[in-house]
Amino acid sequence: MSVLTSPSAPATHNRTSGLQGKAKYAPTLATIGLFLAMFAAGALMYPGFLSGQVFLNLLIDNTFLIVLAVGMTFVILTGGIDLSVGSVVALSMMIAAALLQAGWNPFAVIAVVLLTGAVFGLVMGAIIQVFEIQPFIVTLAGLFLARGLCYVISLNSITVTDPFFTSMAQARIRLPGNLFVSPGVIIALLVVAAAVYVLHQTRFGRTVYAVGGGEASAVLMGLAVPRTKILVYTISGFCAATAGILFSFYSLSGYSLAATGMELDAIAAVVVGGTLLTGGYGYVVGSLAGVLVLGIVQTFISYEGTLSSWWTRIVIGALLLVFILLQKLFSRKVKLA
């Protein structure tokens, strides 16, 4: 919104951002470039790394993280943050597993879980908006609450034996060239596509960017700021519940300690994907690339064998730092321009 010279100037270019022209794609392109470079490095270092299936496995193993990152992108674009998503994933898995164990219809279970996630997000968003409390502290309370409710449902892991869930877990969709993906990948990519459509083709999407660009100006422009802010948390909760379902397909169980710290991975993916934490700039496709970068770090570590799993956390932390520093550099340039 830096193009507006006076408050009375009409907002003719709704989508004009501080990063003009092609420059606004730079952070996202940098992430995609980083991913391709890492993939190339892997291909040089390890035999068998350069195959379509290795790439598709990245998608298969990270379906839930992709969906989480999509929801988190909406929240971060408005300048907020949602710390509760990891716990909501675990809660969704627990609810699904418990209801399936009680003999519910799998589709009813999925509907209940998605509704619960969305309502959870809606309530958090409403508290953030109505009582003007920092999103950070409200979603932190949400983190506690969802995790605690997991323990209330069951302390032990519940196995899922439902035929529909097991068939979803085992199903493989054949692609040309002897490749395959899981149904979860299709769902995750559909979520990404839906998010791209909503963010770039709808009034709501433009309002999300406007709120992140400057909440006060968005209010002055007469945009539905409160409704938008509540809705992004609802979307994030809904995405977290979807991720929980996908995680159930993947692991066929509900465990109250599942997805601990996954909110950090989701935030890291969004940041690495080039979305500014202060809101206003960023793309869902960048978040997808961010998830792939985090996934390929994991793949490297499993190919290396000797590298231990804790390196993943350290590398993710380091990547997060590098991208935050880059963002800082970028936003400084924007201010000067």
Partner: protein, 343 residues
């Protein structure tokens, strides 16, 4: 009377007393403190001893929050400190001596100071939002701790080290004495010198305080280093209490407890105003709440739900919007101006 009701410590203190009385109703020996082998024992002492790490971390967090920051990395820092000291003691030539324990603890505290300085560097010099700057260490920290312990749970048998978290001195648990000493030092340094006012000034408006001639950068740096120090000492207590370093679980969720303690104690999350005594009461409330859950026979896992509800209620009560609504209901005629909230 009005002044007592209005005082910001009244409600937290009242909540603590009510919680303790509730426990007394359900368990008649709850408030009793007995002497055994020259040491004090009893539920009250247990609350103090188990709460000591939270008290320490919350203390550091209070000053960070007063400067309008937040430190999410304290749990990871505590885990790193425990990992470093235990690994040092485990590999030392003389793993049982007091000197080894002291050196290990000193190295761990040094690491805590360094990690705090790192956070302070990111916030004060680079100018990254505190949540994000400390998120980096929160994400990478447990990985670092695991790197130090090589992914193992390092068990040590060193009596002087064990004393930090579980020992007694003058009939009182040493961890309480350490926490009390740090509290007293922090209280004296910030309330008897200008430091506390300077921190509040930075929290209210960093730019204005810099223009007024304050070295805002140094002050920001100091609060993060102090937070790192507190987290490291708390990490020593946690690992010494169980005589082991568990990189994955030591200090897990303790940053949440600490933030909760600070908020309950009446420190504003928007920065600029803090109460060390309030934080102390807040930390004790949290520890008592945990104990209450046990006393009432509720499954301990439900504690998280309780904590979440307490955070929500306290935040709602603290929010200017809710206060305005309450005030309007009481005195419909007055139109109060809405205080500005920093996001």
């Amino acid at each position: 009377m009005n002044a007592v009701i209005r005082h910001r410590l009244t409600w937290p203190a009242l909540a603590l007393v009510l919680l303790l009385l509730l426990n007394q109703v359900f368990r008649s020996d709850f408030l009793a403190v007995r002497v055994q082998d020259g040491h004090l024992y009893g539920s009250l002492i247990d609350i103090l001893r188990n709460g000591a790490p939270t008290i320490l971390i919350a203390l550091g967090m209070t000053l960070v929050i007063a400067s309008r920051g937040i430190d999410l990395s304290v749990g990871a820092t505590a885990a790193i400190a425990g990992a470093i000291s235990c690994t040092y003691i485990y590999n030392a030539a003389d793993p049982g001596s007091a000197q080894t324990a002291l050196t290990g603890a000193a190295i761990a505290v040094g690491a805590g100071l360094a990690l705090g300085a790192w956070n302070g560097f990111l916030v004060a010099v680079i100018g990254i939002q505190p949540i994000i700057a400390t998120l980096v260490l929160m994400t990478a920290g447990r990985g670092l701790a695991q790197l130090v312990t090589d992914g193992q749970i390092i068990t040590v048998s060193n009596d002087p080290y064990h004393a930090i978290g579980a020992g007694f001195f003058l009939a009182l648990p040493i961890s309480i004495l350490i926490a009390a000493a740090v509290c007293a030092a922090a209280g004296l340094l910030t309330r008897r010198t200008a430091l506390g006012t300077l921190i509040e000034a930075v929290g209210i408006n960093p730019v204005a305080s810099r223009l007024a001639g304050l070295n805002a950068r140094t002050i920001t740096w100091i609060v993060y280093i102090f937070s790192g120090f507190c987290a490291a000492v708390a990490g020593l207590m946690i690992s010494s209490n169980v005589t082991a370093a568990d990189a994955n679980n030591a200090g897990l969720f303790i940053e949440m407890d600490a933030i909760l303690a600070v908020v309950i104690g009446g420190t504003s999350l928007a920065g600029g105003r803090y109460s060390l005594v309030g934080t102390l009461i807040g930390a004790l409330i949290i520890q008592t709440l945990t104990t209450t859950v046990y006393t009432l026979g509720i499954p301990p896992e439900v504690t998280l739900v309780f904590k979440a509800l307490v955070v929500i209620v306290v935040c709602l009560l603290q929010s200017p919007k809710a206060r305005t609504l309450l005030r309007q209901r009481k005195r419909p005629a007055t139109t109060s101006s809405k205080p500005k909230v920093a996001i």
